[in-house]
Structures are given as C-alpha cells and as structure tokens.
C-alpha cells in the first residue's frame, strides 16, 4: 500500500515535470533566440541553446530607440490602471452598498466586457479622429480605462461585499462624510483586492494588441505592436522579435510571480475566491 503510494507520487511527479516542460518550452525557445547569434538563429537543424549568452539583440533595440515602446506601454498601462481602479472602485462601492441601478445596471456593466474589440475599434477610431486622440497617450489611456472598468467594478464589488459593514457605520456615526468613509475606511480595508485587481487590469492593458495597432502611429506605439513590425519586410527579424518580446514579457512574469495568492480570483472574474 505504502509502496504503491510512493510509486504513484513518483509517477505524478514525473508527469508534473513533463507537463511543465511542455508548457515552458516555447518561452524557453523565445528566450534562447533572444541570446543567439544570427548563425545560431538560422541554423538548420536548429541550435537548442546559444553557445554563449550575448546581448547584441537587446543592444540594438536600445541603440535604435525601439525600447521606448516599453516605456509607452508602461505609461499607458499604469495610468489607465490607476484611472480604472479609481473610477471602478467608486462605482463598485456604490453598487455594493446601495445597490445603485439594481441588477440591470450590474448586468449592463459586465456585458460591456463581452463586446469584442473589433466591433468597436472602427467607430472608436473615427471618434478619435474627431477628438485628435489618435496616436496620443490619452487616447489609449481612456480606451483601456473604459475596457477595464467593467472588470474592476465586477471584482471590486465582490471584494467590498466581503468587508463587514460595522466599520463604515461607526465611521458615519463619528461624523465622517460618505466620501471620507469610502476613502479612509473602505479603500484601506479592500487593499488586497485593489492590489490584485490592479495587476490584472495592468496586464490587460500591457498585452493589448488590436486597439494599439489601430490607434498608434509613432509617438505612443506599444511594445506588442512594435514586435509585429519586425515581421515581414525582407525577413522576419527573429532576433529583434525575441528580444523585444522578452523585454515586454519578463516584467509581467515577475509581477505575476509576486501575486500568486490573488491569481485565481483575479482571472476567474471573482468566480473562485482563492
């Protein structure tokens, strides 16, 4: 019986390692290409690891100024996250505590997350032409804020509902205004939820492609769009594709690693309270 268990565990362990290798292999491959020399990239059969780690593929991105797209992504994703969190949490508080607008209103809010981007990208483009918002930070920031709002409202409503009411009530009795209650009592209590929701909001804005493809030109190109610029022309510039992808992906990996605790609730739209 015990031996059985031991073998079972060993088997499961082997399977777990195998599965993990399969899922990580593409990321490994991307990383390895970013360190390869041209000869290694265009070797057939392919070379499985670079002979030596060299950073030339990254250096050229810095030299040509392509890394500015990482900065653009950072600005757009950060500011839109802050905006979405602020507006969304306010709205979520109102819904959670006062049932503002009733069920219909919450349904309408979440239904907005279901609209495919492609459906609204064209009218948004035309709208932005009118407003002069194409290829500006504000354009993408407003857009990502709007796109993340339903998610933030939905998530924060759940987190706020988990907070006991008593504190707010006693704060009101102590003479705080509603706003002060929200700002000084509710927000600190919802810290964990705010943090977790913000990270997913950020990840969405950071990774988004189709809006950025249509609404950027040169000034605020984000890194996913920049990566696609390396396809085509005379060749696919694999070295640049890989290096730029790594620059844009590693920060997210780190953020998510720090956030394991909130991960499940975050990506399940709150369905699982991990």
């Amino acid at each position: 019986m015990r031996a059985d268990k031991g073998t079972g565990l060993a088997l499961r362990y082997v399977a777990a390692v195998a599965v993990t290798i399969v899922f990580l292999f593409p990321i490994y491959w991307l990383a390895s290409i970013s360190f390869k020399t041209p000869d290694e990239i265009f070797a057939s059969p392919p070379a499985w690891w670079p002979e030596q780690i060299q950073f030339a593929n990254y250096a050229v991105l810095f030299k040509d100024g392509d890394v500015v797209t990482i900065w653009n992504s950072l600005v757009i994703a950060s500011v839109s996250t802050v905006c979405a969190m602020l507006l969304g949490t306010m709205c979520a508080y109102s819904i959670a505590r006062f049932r503002t607008g009733g069920n219909l209103f919450s349904d309408w809010i979440i239904s907005n997350r279901m609209i495919p981007p492609i459906v609204i990208v064209f009218p948004v483009f035309l709208l932005y032409v009118r407003l002069g918002w194409v290829d500006t930070y504000i354009g993408l920031i407003v857009l990502y804020t709007a796109f993340n709002l339903p998610y933030v409202i939905w998530m924060m409503r759940g987190y706020i509902q988990d907070i006991p009411l008593e504190l707010e009530e006693s704060a009101l009795v102590d003479g705080c205004t509603r706003w002060q209650v929200f700002w000084k009592v509710v927000l600190p209590m919802a810290r964990g939820g705010l943090f977790a929701t913000a990270v997913f909001t950020f990840v969405f804005a950071w990774n988004e492609f189709i809006f950025a493809l249509v609404l950027t030109r040169s000034e605020v190109t984000t890194f996913p769009v920049q990566v696609t610029h390396y396809f085509g022309g005379q060749s696919n510039f694999w070295a640049k594709i890989a290096a730029m992808s790594m620059l844009g992906t590693v920060p997210i990996f780190i953020a998510v690693a720090l956030l394991q605790r909130f991960l499940v609730r975050g990506i399940s739209l709150g369905a699982v309270k991990g």
Partner: protein, 481 residues
C-alpha cells in the same frame, strides 16, 4: 529590338541628358536643401520607411548625416510592407500629423493621391530648383513613378527590378553541359532565355548534382510571388483584363501555365520553398545551394561579397559565390519593376517644408549616389548617373556587368499593375497564391481570383476602373512590346 541595341540607345540617351542640362544648377540640389533646411534646425521630422533592412539607410546613414548638416532630427517610423498602405491611409484619415515624409510604393501612388493623402510637390520643386535633377532619374522610373495626373507627388528613389542571377561556374561546367546536351538535344544556354529553357536547365541541375546545388530557388511566399506572377504572366503573353469589358483575364491559359509551371518547379526545388521569402532565398543562394534565382538587385551586391563584412549584415551568410555570378534578364526578357519606392510628403504633415527638403536632399544626385552604394541598404541604382558611376563600377570586378543589367532592366522592365484600389487586387492575388501552395486546384484558384477581381471592379465602377486601366495599359512598360 534586341537587348544590346536597347543598352546602346539607353546610354546614349543618358549621356545626352547629362550634357544637355546646366551642371551647376543640378549639383546644387543637395546643398540648396541643406541651406534652406537650416532654418528648421532643432525640429524633428518623421519619415515612414519600410521596416527592416530598408530602414538601415535613414537609421545609420542618411538620418544622422542630415541631422549633422541641418540640425533637424529624423525620426524613422518603421512599418512592415504589408501595412504601409493601410497605415498611411489610416493616418490620412486621422490627420494627426504623425507622418511627415513617406516612402510610397509607386503602384499605390494614384490611390493615395485620390484619397488626398499626398502633398503635390511641384511648387516646392520649383522653389528649391529640383526639376533638372528629376530629369536625370532613369526614364522608366521618372515617367511612371513620379506623377499622377501630371502633378509630382513623389520622387522615384529605388530602382527595384528583378534580375536573374546565375552561377556561371555551374551552368558552364563541361560535365553538366555535356550531359544536358545528351538529354535535351540542345546546348545548355547560359543563361536560359525562356521559361522552357529555364525549367529544363533547373530540373536537370537539381537532378544531375543531387541537389548540390539545386537548379534554382525562388522566393515563393505570396507577397513576393505576387510580383513574380505579374512578371511571368505577362512574359507568357497574359493580359490582366479584357480591354473592352474590363473582365479579369488572369484565369487565362497564361495564368494557368504560370501556376502549373510553378508547381512543377517546386518538385525540384528545396522542400518548403513555398514559404521562402527574400532572406531564405538569399541565404540559399549565397551559401551556393542554388544555381539560379531571380530577385531584387541587392542579391547581386551581396553575392559578390560587397559589404557583407558590415556589422549590419552580420545575419547574412557570407557569400561563397563571389566572382561566380552572372547577371541577366529573367526568362522572357522583361523583368518586373517590382515595388520600388518613391519619396513623398504626407498631406497632413505639419512640417511639409522641412520634410520636403529632407527628401530632396535624399533623392539628389549627390546623396542618392552614396545611398545606392551603401553596402547594407536596399536602395538600388535608379539614376542615369548611378548606372554610369565609375566609383560604383569599381566596387567589385563584375560591378560593370551588374550595373549594365540593372540599366537594361530599367528599360525592358514591366510596371506593377496600378489601378484604383490596386492593393485589393494584389491582396486577392496573394491569397490565390497562398491557396496554390495549400494544394488547391490552379484553375479553380484563378477563376476565384478573377471573380474576386471582377467583384472589386464592379464595386469601384467598371467605367471608372476601365479608364484607369486603359491609361495604365497604354504605358510603354505595361506589357512587353
């Protein structure tokens, strides 16, 4: 007229125009631009350039040089070829002024002009005395890639033409020659002049050498093959449309022959050649794995080993074939003037003057001669002076032959199809080619493509499109004469 006569007359023409014009005024175009541009020192202009290798010119050479001379910073916006037209039009719609100067593929120029996206340049050309130097651009580019409805909208800036490159050592190998004659009953032509000969020679070499090297390789990926189709289809006698009814006729026997020949050729070319683009094919040729290929002019330079020591070209395999490459017209004798670039100004630019001065300087005789000699760049000789440049001719032993081939290409070349909404016709053709590689029936694909073309034509208006086509087809370089 045979090729040699063409060459002679062309150089005579070039000589005449060089002598017929005041030298002083012309030599000043670059300088004039620099002087006038100094008032914009400290500003930044942007230029849309094809992503990748093309952009190395403004990034590493012309951009920094211009900034040093004028104090104007150049921001290079790299856009993949497939998105350039879209992006320029989108930008025109958006009107943000994000783009100042543009690289425009000449076949799109009429569309962009119709949409109002390009700035007419005549006034500035006169203001800065550039008309004379425009005249020394090789005639086929000057006459076909510069104006729309009589107004100047772009400066032809790239002598793109498909040249055939063949390995003299392989094709002239006595063993191969003898065995070929035995099999086919005629002398192996060096180089093949018809597609029949080409296929005989190519398949024979693959077979005889056991694919070391392959008889030929091509770029077959649809964006490239689309140009190859246009070229070969017309060399086989094909016409794109019925001139009376404006019905698409690419599903004619000529079209079918091209598709079927392609499929047959793939059998003796490397596995996976269907996905090859510019670089894959280049790598094979430079490594000596291919006895013949057809491509844009940079193959010739790099095949000769010119400039491949440059760091920017470190990803290009070192040439194993220097000194062994011959240059000629592709089979049929009429190469595609595939793509090419003209320099234009965006109508929504907020710095038209500075941007204009930059492109005049880029395009001027003096600067352009340096740019077409950049070892890592992809701009190819497009001025009479480039073909004759003693400096260029001294770059490698076969350079004079190379330049002569480019010049002949410019004379015999076939223009890319250019209509209203050309991009959509090309897109349909590209999709057809990718279906061909996917294994669909050639005739069915061509019929579908023709139907798609007819659909586009109907949507645009048959009469409107017919007028555009008639105007295009009446140009001397639209169809082989």
């Amino acid at each position: 007229m045979d090729r040699r006569k063409f060459l002679v007359s062309a150089s005579a023409l070039a000589g005449a125009s060089a002598f017929g014009l005041p030298r002083m005024a012309r030599a000043d175009a670059a300088k004039t631009a620099v002087e006038a541009a100094k008032q914009y020192s400290g500003t930044e202009i942007s230029i849309v350039w094809e992503a990748g290798l093309q952009s190395l010119d403004p990034l590493n050479f012309s951009g920094p040089m211009w900034e040093e001379q004028t104090g104007i910073k150049v921001k290079v916006i790299e856009v993949p070829t497939a998105e350039m037209f879209t992006k320029i039009l989108q930008e025109h719609r958006a009107g943000t002024g994000a783009y100042d100067a543009l690289n425009v593929i000449p076949a799109w120029m009429p569309d962009l002009v119709r949409a109002g996206a390009l700035e007419p340049l005549d006034a500035m050309v006169d203001k800065y005395g550039y008309r004379d130097q425009l005249q020394t651009i090789a005639p086929v580019y000057r006459d076909n890639q510069m104006t729309v409805d009589g107004k100047i909208y772009g400066f032809p800036d790239d002598g793109d033409v498909f040249i055939m490159y063949y390995r003299k050592d392989v094709l002239s190998d006595p063993k191969i020659q003898a065995a070929f004659k035995e099999k086919h009953g005629y002398d192996l032509p060096v180089p093949p002049a018809t597609w029949k000969e080409f296929d005989d020679v190519g398949s024979f070499i693959s077979d005889f050498t056991d694919n070391k090297p392959y008889g030929a390789t091509f770029f077959r990926d649809a964006p490239y093959a689309q140009f190859m189709f246009q070229e070969r289809f017309r060399n086989e006698g094909g016409r794109f449309f019925d001139a009376d009814t404006m019905k698409a006729t690419i599903n004619s026997d000529a079209g079918l022959k091209v598709f079927n020949d392609w499929l047959a050729e793939n059998e003796w070319m490397p596995a996976g050649v269907q996905t090859w683009g510019f670089v894959e094919n280049l790598a094979a040729f430079l490594k000596g794995d291919s006895a013949m290929t057809i491509s844009w002019p940079p193959y010739g330079r790099w095949g000769a080993g010119y400039g491949t020591d440059e760091e920017a070209l470190s990803w290009v395999p070192k040439s194993q074939i220097a000194g062994k490459v011959g240059y000629s017209m592709p089979p049929g004798g009429h190469p595609q003037l595939a793509a090419g670039f003209a320099l234009s100004i965006s109508a929504s630019s907020k710095q038209k003057e500075a941007a204009y001065l930059f492109i005049q300087w880029l395009n001027s005789e003096e600067t352009s001669l340096q740019r077409v000699q950049l070892p890592y760049a992809l701009r190819d000789p497009f001025r009479d002076g480039h073909f004759e440049s003693p400096e260029y001719k001294a770059k490698w032993p076969e350079a004079p032959e190379y330049l002569a081939a480019l010049k002949a290409g410019a004379i015999n070349g076939l223009l890319d199809l250019s209509l209203i909404q050309t991009d959509r016709y090309e897109e349909a053709l590209r999709q057809g080619i990718s279906r061909l590689w996917g294994g669909d029936d050639p005739q069915a694909i061509l019929n579908d493509t023709a139907a798609t073309w007819d659909g586009i034509t109907d949507k645009i208006g048959v009469d409107k499109q017919k007028a555009a086509y008639t105007a295009w087809a009446s140009k001397p370089n639209a169809y082989p004469s």
